[in-house]
Symmetry: C2
């Protein structure tokens, strides 16, 4: 079984420093990181959103999500299950049937996430504008640099003796 997530905490534990600004950054963040990593990965969010409406079977999720490979869906579900956000119920029938549903904690997480979604919806235009502006500036600079370069080259060539 491939894994990860066990040793990947980085620096946690109590740092004796708490010097400057980094109070919650170091302390809280090492916890927050893991949750965020869970929340933010490509599929978790989709799964949580889907399961918020009703419990679903493995294949229903697979079909609903579209781009996901069964490997990734399995991994995602295992992680969510491990974190206590999703519960997994195996019905011992033939063929086997497995239902996934949000735990109460999973539901509260989903409503918290909604705040971020709302923020995003409210600001997506501003962000798109910012990006467009940034890219425009970058392109302009790029072009300017190329003009400069051409200039320098032309000057250098003119300064050299014509070689045959």
């Amino acid at each position: 079984m491939e894994d990860g997530t066990f040793e990947s905490l980085g620096y946690c534990g109590d740092t004796g420093i708490d010097d400057d600004v980094l109070q919650w950054d170091q302390r809280a963040d090492c916890e927050v990181r893991q949750i965020l990593d869970r929340v933010a990965d490509k599929w978790s969010l989709l799964v949580i959103a889907l399961l918020d409406k009703r419990s679903l079977r493995f294949t229903e999720l697979r079909r609903a999500i579209d781009g996901v490979s069964q490997r990734m869906l399995t991994r995602t579900l295992r992680h969510l299950e491990r974190d206590g956000l999703v519960s997994r119920t195996v019905h011992p029938t033939v063929p086997p049937r497995v239902d996934y549903e949000l735990t109460p904690m999973g539901v509260t997480l989903h409503s918290t996430i909604r705040a971020l979604v709302v923020w995003t919806e409210e600001h997506q235009n501003a962000i798109a504008a910012a990006r467009a502006a940034y890219d425009r500036r970058a392109a302009a600079e790029q072009e300017a640099a190329e003009r400069d370069e051409a200039q320098r080259l032309a000057v250098a060539r003119a300064a050299l003796p014509i070689r045959s």
Copy 2:
């Protein structure tokens, strides 16, 4: 210049389907994804948190964050700048001085993120417990499987004629 983030949207655009559950999942998420990816990556969160208190110079950030390589810090800052969350001010002095600070939009994002941080702080115990429980169950199953295997092996060996 290495990049990414430009072509990485996956399927966006209007899907004519809106069949089932996946209304906001497909539509909103393809926008939300990019923001979340920004918010969730290893360093962005730290940078935003640090800059929320006061504007900082490149090296101040570098020192404050500790584990970050200058390459990653630069990338992170460029991304945040492109999204209009952080502003970059170059003072044409010698040696050069560059200040980074949160834009108004960056500030609102930070307060939104706080909700997630709060959620995490409130639930981190529950999550830790869930993980411990999960790992315990997994370990137990693992062990059981190994006992079974040993059993089967012993039986198989007993059933075979003693060779030599």
